[in-house]
């Protein structure tokens, strides 16, 4: 919208107790938090396979994830937020960032899509998409990850060992680097901390407890304590405006849940329609189908789910009862007459 002064961070939906559970989006969120930069968070849960997300927008200004090295680099380049000005020339800073962006990123990618049953990934990326689409995109992403990590049937075992081994080395190195300091470099937050903590939060809270990667991370106590402290200080403190209270419930921005009765009622109608199809002519089912559709449309407009359910159930049962009373030939004939009208 024109004239909006605030910055918006558009990320994937919050879940697992995180403001956004996507490993690509969370570092950007943390980076802006570290900078105490005022921003709002909006969610896009319809485009899980987009490399444009996360992005930051402010009016006609945009910083996409797939441009200029990412959102954080773009924000630094444009002089909006820069936490790395005093550390980015240090060789260790550069190599640490490279290690996090490659070894740890690959490990999390593997664990999220291939190392587990994929249920966590489905919840983050596909829970707001219709099932056929979500399922297809999930399978497509699994295939893409395998190609990206170079995993085949022949090398899957040693590749897994290599990935976990490198992650372990990285954890040990970072644990040594951190020690008992507040942050990894110069006791001040930088983008390296944002990337690393994004990885840590997802590993600790999204991956299941049986996860190998998670268990390796937990072995390094100071890293876990580092994450807990940052969570309390920067995330749960709510220092920025309009920060959503993250919890394990799905995003409230796209409420698509309906009472479970609706799916049961719909399935019941499907069964009855198919039975009617086989027993009677096509036009015998036209009237109950039309009445059912009208009932669904009307009832979806009501706010109260309880009232919606009751009205829906009454309307649907009423329509079926009415049609059972009607003789099949009479209803078919009437439908034919109706459809023959000029």
């Amino acid at each position: 919208m024109e004239g909006v002064a605030e910055f918006n961070l558009v990320a994937r939906k919050p879940c697992f107790g995180l403001p956004t559970a996507c490993p690509t989006c969370l570092p950007v969120y943390l980076y802006l938090k570290f900078a105490h930069f005022p921003f709002h968070v909006a969610f896009n849960s319809l485009y899980p396979d987009s490399d444009q997300i996360p992005y930051v927008e402010n009016g006609t200004y945009m910083a996409y994830n797939n441009e200029n090295g990412g959102v954080i680099e773009r924000l630094k380049e444009d002089g909006i937020v820069d936490l790395d000005s005093q550390v980015n020339s240090q060789p260790e800073w550069i190599s640490t960032k490279a290690m996090i962006s490659s070894w740890l990123a690959d490990a999390l990618l593997y664990e999220l899509w291939l190392g587990s049953d994929g249920s966590s990934a489905c919840k983050i990326y596909y829970s707001d998409l219709a099932w056929p689409i979500g399922k297809f995109l999930f399978l497509q992403q699994v295939r893409t990850v395998k190609q990206q990590l170079g995993i085949t049937k022949d090398n899957s075992e040693w590749r897994e060992e290599e990935i976990y081994g490198r992650a372990n080395i990285a954890y040990k190195a970072l644990s040594t680097r951190l020690g008992e300091h507040d942050f990894l470099f110069d006791n001040r937050p930088s983008s390296v901390d944002a990337f690393f903590l994004g990885h840590v939060f997802v590993t600790l809270q999204v991956l299941p407890e049986t996860s190998v990667l998670r268990s390796k991370l937990i072995e390094n106590g100071n890293l876990v304590r580092f994450a807990d402290r940052v969570k309390i200080e920067f995330i749960e403190a709510g220092s920025s405006s309009s920060v959503p209270q993250f919890h394990s419930d799905p995003s409230s921005s796209t409420p698509r849940r309906v009472p479970s009765n609706w799916s049961k009622i719909f399935k019941l109608h499907l069964y009855l329609i198919f039975i009617n199809w086989y027993l009677f002519d096509f036009f015998a089912i036209a009237k109950p189908v039309v009445l059912c559709l009208v009932a669904i449309v009307i009832c979806s407009c009501f706010r109260s789910p309880g009232l919606k359910c009751q009205l829906g159930i009454m309307a649907n049962y009423g329509s079926w009862f009415g049609c059972l009373l009607i003789i099949n030939d009479w209803s078919s004939a009437k439908c034919m007459d109706f459809l023959k009208m000029p």
């Binding site: 919208m1 024109e2 558009v10 909006a42 896009n44 849960s45 319809l46 485009y47 899980p48 987009s50 444009q52 927008e57 009016g59 006609t60 200004y61 945009m62 996409y64 441009e67 444009d78 707001d128 998409l129 219709a130 099932w131 056929p132 689409i133 995109l137 409420p255 698509r256 849940r257 309906v258 609706w262 799916s263 719909f266 399935k267 002519d281 096509f282 559709l293 449309v297 979806s300 407009c301 706010r303 789910p305 459809l339 023959k340 009208m341 000029p342």
Partner: protein
């Protein structure tokens, strides 16, 4: 008129009389033959020729008598049996379904009329190279009956191909299509086709479908189609649409059409220049909808209507899946046309009013955002006279050239993106659209133009789009809506062809707002009715 109480003699009695006459003639001929045997043999050949001529004359007299009786009154005749020949692959029930009217006919006239209709319908199936319907005499023990013989020759070459320009109800503009068809694979008159189509609005479609004119107990045609559609709206609204879907034609008659659509639709922005409202819509959606169209068109022509009226109502309800995460909305369109002839120079005045509304379905629906591809957009190179089915066309305005807009992303420095609109805005469409037009068409006085159908027209049109969702309805009022109507007037020349209607117009924009993409000047529009 003859005495209504007097029933016309049954045709069989004439046959009996004629048979008697023939018998007499035969007797006479026998006698003559006997006499001839006694005569010189040189005169035998002329006598045989004379017999043949007599038979021809008798048959001609019979037919003349029949036609005279058919002209003056009903000739009662029942159908005893219908015999179908020549169908080796085609199911007999498919052919017999078209012969019901023949079986029920009770007179010669009705039989002939029903036979001509059945012949036309059987040819329409595109399964036969030829169809012949013959009336033969019924069994002698059943007077007043006839046997109907339907002889079909099944198509030797089931494969056909064609290229043409079309405008479908779903399409936003005309398309050029090439298709390959295979006919009558299973003997139900089924037509299987594969089609490639390219639209003038930068759309491309690959589809395959099947059409059953009559399948088992179903009396209406059944159609199923799988399609992959790609539409490029980068220039106007900074997004591309790709849709993979299945559509089923559930019911289709002259006035009613019911279809089901199931599609996976994806909106993307490869240019990464879109405005915020467009960005919010990018992603995947599942569309499961029923679309009902009621169409009533009594105009004398769809290319140049000069008399009659038409009405179209289209209702689309989406969200028909157990999965609540699919796209849910209600879309309604109305279109009313009226043509009044003036009687000189083939002049006629066409009026038209179109309107449409789109509403998402669900809790708090007015605070939700409506689906972008379903919104209404006005403008383009279509002629409102030809385009029947909701508000879409408006003379003088470019494609998607009016309505709510939003600024696109601004890049630092000069943008080299050729898809970027120089105005830097995206057209967002609206949830409520109304358009109206008046078109006065007339012939030119020159005979050449009359023969070619080239005529002139003066026109005026107006239209408006408004947003209702995301609580914008609170800012909308009728006076405000009427005040913001865009309008244009103009004149032009119309060149109708068999395939499309070409207009060369000069449009003058009377009223436009903000970033509307319309300007006065010459404009060409091509519409396929």
């Amino acid at each position: 008129m003859g005495n209504p109480d007097e029933k016309p003699d049954p045709i069989i009695s004439d046959y009996e009389i004629e048979e008697e006459e023939d018998d007499d003639e035969e007797d006479l001929e026998e006698e003559e033959d006997d006499d001839e045997l006694e005569d010189d043999s040189d005169v035998a050949a002329p006598k045989v020729r004379g017999n043949r001529e007599a038979e021809v004359r008798a048959a001609k007299a019979k037919m003349d008598n029949l036609f005279r009786r058919m002209r003056t009154g009903t000739v009662p005749l029942r159908v005893h049996n219908v015999i179908v020949k020549g169908n080796t692959k085609t199911k007999e029930q498919l052919i017999e379904a078209e012969l019901e009217a023949i079986r029920n006919a009770s007179s010669m006239q009705e039989i002939i009329e029903a036979a001509s209709v059945a012949n036309f319908r059987l040819r329409e199936l595109e399964c036969f190279d030829s169809v012949n319907i013959t009336l033969d005499a019924g069994p002698p023990e059943l007077p007043g009956t006839t046997n109907v013989i339907v002889e079909v020759v099944e198509a030797k070459r089931p494969f056909t191909g064609q290229i043409g320009t079309f405008t479908k109800g779903e399409a936003k503009s005309s398309t050029v299509e090439g298709s390959v068809k295979y006919r009558n694979l299973f003997g139900y008159g089924d037509i299987w086709d594969g089609t490639l189509a390219y639209g003038f609005d930068r759309s491309a479609e690959v589809s395959a479908g099947v059409y059953f004119p009559r399948f088992e107990r179903l009396v209406t045609p059944v159609m199923a189609r799988v399609s992959l559609l790609s539409q490029d709206w980068l220039k106007f609204s900074s997004y591309k649409e790709r849709s993979l879907g299945l559509s089923l034609g559930l019911f289709s008659s002259t006035h009613h059409d019911l279809a089901y659509n199931f599609a996976w639709r994806t909106l993307t922005d490869p240019s990464q220049m879109s405005s915020m409202s467009i960005r919010r819509q990018l992603g995947h959606n599942l569309l499961s909808s029923l679309k009902y169209t009621f169409k009533f068109d009594k105009r004398n022509s769809t290319v140049r209507p000069t008399r009659g009226h038409a009405f179209v109502s289209t209702t689309q309800v989406s969200g028909l899946t157990p999965d609540s995460r699919s796209l849910r909305f209600l879309r309604q369109e109305f279109d009313l046309r009226y043509a009044v002839p003036f009687g000189f120079y083939h002049t006629a005045l066409n009026f038209g009013v179109s309107s449409g509304v789109l509403v998402p379905l669900g809790r708090g629906f007015l605070s939700m955002s409506s689906s972008l591809p379903e919104r209404f957009f006005l403008g383009g190179n279509l002629s409102p006279v030809c385009t029947l089915g909701g508000p879409s066309a408006l003379w003088g305005f470019k494609t998607r050239g009016m309505g709510p807009t939003e600024s696109r992303r601004q890049m630092r420095g000069n943008s080299n993106d050729e898809n970027a609109d120089p105005t830097g805005v995206d057209f967002l469409g609206g949830d409520l659209a109304v358009s109206a037009f008046a078109d006065l068409s007339f012939d030119f006085p020159l005979k050449f133009f009359k023969e070619k159908g080239i005529h002139g027209h003066l026109f005026a049109c107006a239209g408006n789009i408004a947003k209702l969702t995301e609580n914008e309805y609170r800012n909308l009022s009728l006076p405000k809506f009427l005040e913001s109507f865009r309008s244009s007037v103009g004149a032009g020349i119309v060149l109708p062809t068999n395939l499309f209607r070409l207009e060369v117009n000069y449009c003058y924009i009377l009223k436009k707002f903000g970033h509307d993409n319309g300007k006065s000047g010459f404009q060409i529009s091509i519409s396929a009715p």
